[in-house]
Symmetry: C2
Subunit: 301 residues, 2 copies
């Protein structure tokens, strides 16, 4: 079998070109990031660019009613279920160039490579760009794929609103990406997604690439600790109800539970900690905190 | 010896009248509080009212160059050092009616009672109202008494500025309370201050009054915990440097140290806890926290 390589510099150049849309410079690090919130003008520009590349490659492009973009390269057996390859091009408010983009543009680079080598595949290949993977704007992440797989109803998804009360359906129409294709019409044979790692494991362990073998269950909790705000000097320790200390104990306990091994590969994070009144000489009377739990094993979760 | 009682309702009425100056209603509790920041217009109104009461009682009123008010009732031995009685009438931005006011108005009630009973004292009694006890506006608390006792230089105190760059000296002149009396001219025989308790001990233990036997040493620390901000899902526990967890461990450890008894009557409070970036799915990379330590025993501190 012939060894085929993709064109790395070309792929990188396309990531750079897409990354210029919605680009901003991070003040702290000086690094360039991207802000392409779902269904914003920047999202439209990114979609237009990706779609133009899809069309250049001779793919037939369809857009479904939740705005997912599908670009099909026909197989020698068109009746077979296609292999779906892709990701998303929307971003969080302060995202990187690679998150999502690598999956979509990597898929296009595969198509380019196949085209250049005149390789036909038995199954069709469909490059996809899913709508609103991040969920930052309308509050529900993986929105486009959730609708496409039937986990969310289309009407429900289109009625979701952002903080200004603007709904998904209206924004899809405004940016010209409310398509005609039925959201449930694609039944892929397999789905492949290339994604930049968001953790430190690969670089720390010296690997170039990792394969996802498990998906983590995820649960978010908002924790409210209620104690009694009181004077830090005048209140004896025995009379205190320190909400900050209560939150601290839960944080420490969480790590102990994780390290106990009883909960498998549980990961626990208290990311938000907001004491009230948040003053040096007042015992916190209330704390709002969050707990992020992740576990690849549902039973251990 | 004849038993003499003060007139409680009259004292209470004067506290109410003073409390109306700078009064506001707390939105959460519906309770009425006071905002009389040092050397503000409200502070001037409060000083004017207190001074008018001093003059009505036949006291001779002097104001020193840092704005402390001294009202003297002569003794049968005028050459003796006076007994100083009083407190302050400025408040924190959201203060109560009693803090400080009870000490000044209680002293005036004592004078009223002595006058009514035609009682002469051997030593002069001086009722005092010290400038800027709270320190909220110009950053240094017990300002007037610190200057009067020589702990702070007058020039230094007068040059202190608030957040708008307005200095103590100018504000003293503006509100008409930069007096002529030398700040170091009063050498009291004793000082008595009646103050509302700011803790829960008296009511919990069923006492009407407590006598201060020790003053607590106090130390404030700003703690900065530096870890590594990272993705709550993608970062294995072993690779984490969670600044929030570090702060939590210190908070828990502080309480353990207090409860160990090794540090006497130490009180420890972590009042401010501010993680960055303060997001549900990001391990805190940095935490700013404060530590308030109090101890009546210097050696145990």
């Amino acid at each position: 079998m012939k060894r085929i390589n993709i064109n790395g510099p070309r792929l990188y150049a396309s990531i750079e070109e897409l990354g210029a849309i919605g680009a901003y410079t991070d003040k702290q690090t000086g690094l360039v990031g991207v802000c392409r919130l779902a269904l914003s003008d920047e999202d439209r520009q990114a979609r237009d660019l990706v779609r133009s590349w899809m069309l250049e490659l001779g793919l037939s492009v369809d857009i479904d009613t939740i705005g997912n973009i599908y670009a099909r390269r026909e197989g020698t057996s068109p009746e077979l279920a296609p292999v779906l390859v892709g990701s998303h091009t929307d971003s969080v408010p302060t995202g990187g160039r690679f998150d999502g983009a690598l999956g979509v543009l990597g898929a296009l680079e595969i198509i380019r490579t196949l085209n250049e080598h005149k390789i036909e595949t038995r199954r069709p290949i469909v490059v996809c760009d899913f709508t609103d993977e991040e969920g930052c704007r309308f509050g529900t992440d993986m929105l486009g794929s959730a609708v496409a797989t039937g986990r969310l109803a289309l009407d429900h998804a289109c009625a979701l609103t952002d903080k200004d009360g603007i709904c998904v359906g209206d924004e899809l129409r405004r940016i010209g990406y409310r398509g005609e294709m039925n959201v449930n019409s694609l039944r892929p044979h397999a789905y492949v997604e290339c994604h930049v790692e968001q953790g430190p494991t690969l670089i720390r362990e010296g690997f170039d690439i990792g394969i996802v073998t498990k998906v983590q269950a995820i649960a978010w909790y908002a924790l409210s600790f209620t104690g009694r705000a009181a004077h830090a000097g005048a209140t004896p320790t025995a009379y205190r109800a320190d909400a900050g200390l209560a939150a601290a104990r839960i944080n420490v306990k969480l790590r102990e539970m994780v390290e106990s091994g009883i909960y498998g590969e549980m990961r626990a994070t208290m990311g938000v900690i907001r004491p009230e009144p948040d003053m040096v000489n007042v015992i916190p009377g209330r704390v709002l905190a969050t707990m992020d739990l992740r576990n690849p094993d549902d039973d251990a979760m």
